[in-house]
């Protein structure tokens, strides 16, 4: 089975204060939508922590369900993904697990992959705005204390599998937080049919 080393991670939520979108030129920053700015904040943090410049990486953008306005404005895309394959993955409540599958698949062709999530507080589902990102590599680096295991499907009564938050990207934030402090964790997300009670288990393990 494919697993990946976590080289860097970052997240933004309201507790972080106003997003710093300094990756974007000033004129673009003023004009950028909120989801673009929180994504730029996360990418800026990952840039500082990453041994690989994000613009040299292919990447995957995970999207939840609901009406959608891309956080990936053209200037941000030119900064983070010039000339690299990238994917927009959407899968309802399972978006975090599914984007990680897509990223793990990309590691068959690339040394490292950036997987990011950004969600503005858009109607009709008023979740808090949230962005998170993980930089994954197929080889271990000095900074990689954790490995990401491929998500696994579990079937248990729904009360047991209940996610810790209804936010579609809560698991991504939890993974990023754990990765930033090098702490193993297990997160769960519902599969696309939440009423079936199936869930995806996502595990960060200590790298050996």
């Amino acid at each position: 089975m494919s697993r990946a080393y976590v080289l860097a991670a970052a997240w933004w939520d309201a507790d972080e204060g106003p997003p710093s979108a300094e990756l974007l030129p000033r004129a673009e920053r003023i004009a950028a939508g909120f989801s673009t700015r929180i994504l730029a904040h996360v990418l800026g943090q990952i840039s500082q922590r990453s041994p690989v410049p994000p613009h040299a990486l292919p990447w995957v953008l995970g999207l939840p369900d609901g009406p959608y306005e891309s956080p990936l404005s053209p200037p941000l895309r030119e900064i983070v993904a010039p000339g690299h394959c990238f994917g927009l993955v959407h899968a309802g409540p399972a978006a975090v697990a599914m984007a990680l599958f897509e990223a793990l698949g990309l590691l068959t062709e690339h040394e490292a992959v950036l997987v990011v999530f950004a969600h503005d507080a858009a109607p009709p589902r008023f979740h808090e705005p949230l962005a998170a990102g993980l930089l994954l590599s197929r080889t271990q680096a000095q900074s990689s204390a954790l490995t990401l295991e491929p998500p696994t499907l579990h079937r248990t009564p729904s009360h047991f599998a209940r996610a810790k938050s209804t936010h579609p990207f809560a698991a991504a934030r939890a993974l990023a937080r754990a990765a930033c402090v090098g702490s193993p964790t297990v997160e769960t997300v519902h599969c696309c049919d939440a009423d079936r009670g199936d869930y995806w288990r996502i595990e960060l393990c200590r790298a050996i």
């Binding site: 089975m1 494919s2 999207l63 939840p64 369900d65 609901g66 009406p67 959608y68 306005e69 891309s70 053209p74 895309r77 030119e78 993904a81 010039p82 000339g83 690299h84 394959c85 990238f86 994917g87 927009l88 993955v89 959407h90 899968a91 309802g92 399972a94 978006a95 697990a97 599914m98 984007a99 599958f101 897509e102 793990l104 698949g105 990309l106 590691l107 068959t108 062709e109 491929p150 998500p151 696994t152 499907l153 599969c191 696309c192 049919d193 079936r196 199936d198």
Partner: protein
């Protein structure tokens, strides 16, 4: 590196309910009558009905959680929300036993091709053992079952993707070249029967695509079937792939005056205004 067999496929097209009908339609002197518009959800149900048995066999063989679903789509918008797409994934789960990874990948005009590239990577990474892949638009769609092993006449030998720096309505020749060259190289640069192009003759982008293909592959026969198609996003690429696989099975190019294939390989190219370029290498199995 071995390819992955296409163990089953199904297609719905305004010209008919199978690939042979569409290939025959290409040879007709006048376009066959178009069927009435069928919504994507109804088409998805029909495709899944047709693939029910192969999907059940794959689930029994590999385990339901080892069978994945990847569908192409156009990027979601406020008018075409993701909820509709999530519903389609739920339809797949309802009509099959598939319980593995299930998601959409977005690329206008190349969604199905991009889904095939993602499926290829999931299989190579051993993240799944079979993938139901494709895309469905209103009026047309295609789904294919790709497995790690199995009986099939055609296999997906290699895939490659490249993304342009800037979104544009044109074709990025450098990225097209990168994707096509990478897929062809991964397949050993063996001679091709024909190249299945994205842009048809009347498309303003056709000349650029022809130029890239000619520079890379030389005098390989080149065909496009998209003038027979209205696929906007989700089905695009998946329909091309089914028609290319069926053409390999027939041994003739898909065009008004078919040429006999001299080699049993086809390279399918698809691209989107978002700058995605996808190249897929199909090969007949010995």
């Amino acid at each position: 590196m071995a390819g992955f067999p296409l163990t089953a496929w199904a297609l719905r097209h305004p010209w008919g309910t199978d690939a042979d009908a569409v290939l025959d339609g290409l040879r007709a002197t006048s376009a066959p009558p178009r069927a009435e518009l069928t919504p994507a959800a109804a088409l998805a149900e029909a495709l899944l009905d047709e693939l029910a048995e192969p999907c059940a066999r794959a689930c029994a063989r590999w385990g339901t959680s080892r069978v994945a679903v990847i569908l192409g789509s156009a990027p979601p918008t406020a008018l075409d929300a993701l909820d509709r797409l999530s519903t389609m994934l739920s339809t797949v789960r309802r009509k099959t036993s598939i319980a593995g990874p299930a998601y959409h990948v977005a690329a206008i005009g190349a969604g199905g091709a991009k889904a095939l590239a993602s499926a290829d990577r999931l299989l190579r990474a051993t993240l799944a053992d079979a993938v139901l892949v494709g895309g469905v638009d209103d009026d047309e769609g295609a789904m294919l079952l790709l497995e790690r092993h199995g009986d099939a006449f055609v296999e997906l030998r290699a895939t490659a993707e490249a993304t342009a720096l800037r979104e544009s309505s044109g074709l990025d020749e450098a990225m097209a070249e990168r994707a096509i060259a990478a897929a062809w190289a991964a397949g050993g640069q063996l001679p091709l029967g024909y190249a299945h192009l994205h842009a048809h003759g009347e498309d303003p982008l056709a000349a650029a695509e022809q130029r890239v293909l000619a520079a890379l592959l030389g005098d390989v026969p080149r065909c496009s079937t998209r003038h027979a198609s209205t696929a906007a996003g989700a089905a695009a690429g998946a329909i091309d792939t089914v028609l290319a696989a069926a053409s390999l099975a027939r041994g003739f190019t898909p065009e008004a005056s078919p040429r006999e294939l001299e080699h049993d390989r086809v390279l399918v190219h698809a691209f989107s205004p978002g700058g995605h370029h996808v190249a897929l290498l199909l090969q007949a199995r010995a």
